[in-house]
């Protein structure tokens, strides 16, 4: 078993008076795909957004407990969310390319973080990112066209390319295929599988089939609690908990 990269210990999240996550203890391994599953409202997205502190954007949201990435406490006062998010990227439910050209979309992170020193380096890096996202062949001749002129699936792969460009340590994905058709979904799933060798990926999905197809580890959340976590094959074929059993057989959720 590989050493854990992200470690949550006794993590609680409150929205105002309402508690959304209860005492989560979860280890996520490096360079593997971990799927977070569970019925809607179970807290899986809340946990995902706690990892790169996107929850900070909600004023009433409060985190306590411990969450470490590579031994660094994410909620330490010395942590700067900008530095954190530059290394822990995120892909969202609906494709949300910026209203800019395809090239500019991918170059965005490189520009704000000042990661390249010349135009050619920038162009190389954009090309590499688009290739990593499997989009290069489709857009190489129209980099100057607006990002939202692409199809839904292409847009989502553009968003992944945009995230990959800054070479984060972790990529968080919040139901990245829920707005896509099956063919586009298959392409994104292939992409996720190929990204596994370079990135630690945490993906929230409402589709158990997807979790089974692409993840190596699966964590099942229910009503704000982590019910079960383990190798994907074990969780789906031989769950330890009855609640997990009920969920994957379709009796709850």
């Amino acid at each position: 078993m590989e050493q854990s990269f992200i470690e949550a210990r006794g993590a609680n999240v409150h929205y105002g008076e309402k508690q959304a996550l209860f005492d989560i203890n979860l280890d996520i391994e490096e360079k593997r795909v971990t799927a977070l599953i569970g019925p809607s409202g179970c807290g899986k997205s809340t946990f995902l957004r706690a990892i790169n502190r996107m929850n900070d954007l909600i004023p009433i949201c409060r985190f306590d407990g411990s969450l470490q990435i590579a031994g660094q406490e994410v909620y330490d006062p010395a942590v700067d969310v900008v530095a954190l998010r530059a290394q822990v990227g995120m892909v969202f439910q609906k494709p949300n390319p910026f209203p800019k050209s395809i090239f500019e979309n991918v170059a965005y992170g490189l520009k704000i973080h000042g990661m390249t020193s010349s135009k050619t380096e920038m162009a190389d890096r954009v090309e590499w990112s688009l290739k990593s996202a499997g989009l290069w062949d489709e857009v190489a001749d129209r980099l100057e066209q607006p990002g939202n002129s692409l199809s839904g699936g292409q847009q989502q792969r553009l968003c992944i390319a945009r995230t990959v460009a800054v070479e984060p340590k972790v990529i968080l994905m919040d139901e990245p295929c829920s707005a896509l058709d099956p063919i586009a979904t298959a392409k994104v799933e292939d992409l996720i599988d190929s990204l596994r060798k370079d990135f630690t990926i945490v993906i929230v999905t409402h589709s158990m089939q997807q979790a089974a197809r692409i993840s190596q580890r699966t964590a099942f959340f229910h009503l704000g609690k982590l019910i079960e976590v383990g190798d994907t094959s074990d969780v789906f074929t031989n769950p330890r908990e009855e609640q997990t059993q009920n969920y994957i057989t379709g009796r709850i959720g």
Binding site: R85, F92, F98, Y108, G109, I112
Partner: protein, 316 residues
């Protein structure tokens, strides 16, 4: 309470009464069209009379504006000159100053209020800014003429600048402040319409909030903001009281903000107050100016409203 049969027998009359009521209300809605028609007809009619006396090319392209009232009809140059360019020059100069003041102030206020301010701060600051929009323009005019203009004249004098006592700068500055709430509330709406998902995407990549605003939110909001700036410019062009009280009457071709210039609206008032003969070129020229002003602002408003509407649909 009448029984069923009674209602049926009365329904004919009540239906007739109902349609009368609806017709009366439809007529009330039609008044809006009548008003537009009235404006267009009255302006066009008098303008045609004016153009019979003064050729349209002299009006549109003339470089000199000095309307005269003829003392004797056979007098030399009895009609005066009616070149509108100096007035357009003055109008645009003052509007440009106003927009140069109002755009940065209004936009940055809107950005701060919609992206940074706490709800409590917003609840206090927004109404406070709206007060600026509710103050009658005659009050701004008084303040511009009595306080701002002498202040600019004095300050300019200290730095060795020759400032006219009715400088374009004073009128433009005060008008700019008046327009701030217009720009800030329109832009606020536009900025709020930018989907949160774009902000999330940028913040999620580690952009700071100001980078997100400058590089993602503003470019996305640009069409809507352009529309609101256009509406504000049209407002500045049509503003009367501030310029009437704080800008001059001298028609001059000048781009110097320290000069006294005059505007279309000031001239309309000047031409039509006091004694007037109804069909002299001087009186009629006011309507030609009015038509020009109406067309100018109408075009800007139509374009602006269309841009804003299209922009809203894009993100709805």
């Amino acid at each position: 309470m009448p029984d069923g049969t009674l209602i049926i027998t009365r329904s004919g009359r009540s239906r007739w009464r109902d349609s009368l009521i609806v017709a009366v209300m439809a007529a009330a809605a039609g008044v809006a069209i009548l008003v537009t028609l009235g404006i267009v007809m009255s302006l066009v009619f008098e303008t045609i009379l004016f153009l019979k006396k003064i050729p349209i090319s002299n009006f549109l392209f003339g470089l000199e504006w000095s309307p005269q009232t003829a003392i004797r009809s056979d007098q030399v140059g009895a009609e005066g000159s009616f070149g509108v360019l100096p007035l357009i020059n003055g109008t645009l100069l003052i509007s440009a100053i106003a927009m140069a003041v109002a755009t940065p102030l209004g936009l940055t206020s809107a950005i701060y209020l919609s992206e940074y301010a706490s709800k409590r701060a917003r609840d206090w600051v927004k109404p406070a800014l709206e007060i600026l929009a509710g103050i009658p323009t005659v009050v701004y005019g008084f303040f511009a003429a009595l306080t701002v203009a002498p202040f600019i004249r004095m300050t300019g004098g200290q730095f060795g600048f020759e400032v006219a006592s009715e400088s374009a700068l004073a009128a433009g500055l005060v008008m700019g402040i008046m327009i701030v709430p217009l720009i800030s509330s329109l832009s606020d709406d536009v900025i709020n319409a930018v989907p949160q998902s774009l902000r999330d995407a940028s913040l999620g990549m580690g952009a700071t909030q100001s980078e997100t605003i400058r590089r993602v939110v503003m470019p996305a909001a640009l069409p809507g903001i352009a529309g609101s700036l256009l509406l504000a410019t049209s407002r500045a062009i049509g503003e009367t009281m501030i310029v009437l009280m704080a800008a001059g009457l001298a028609a001059k071709l000048s781009l110097n903000p320290l000069d006294a210039v005059t505007t279309i609206t000031v001239q309309i008032v000047a031409l039509l107050t006091g004694d007037q003969e109804f069909d002299s070129a001087k009186t009629l020229s006011a309507f030609a100016l009015g038509l020009l002003l109406f067309i100018l602002t109408l075009i800007m408003n139509v374009i602006a409203l269309r841009i804003v509407k299209k922009y809203r649909e894009q993100y709805d």
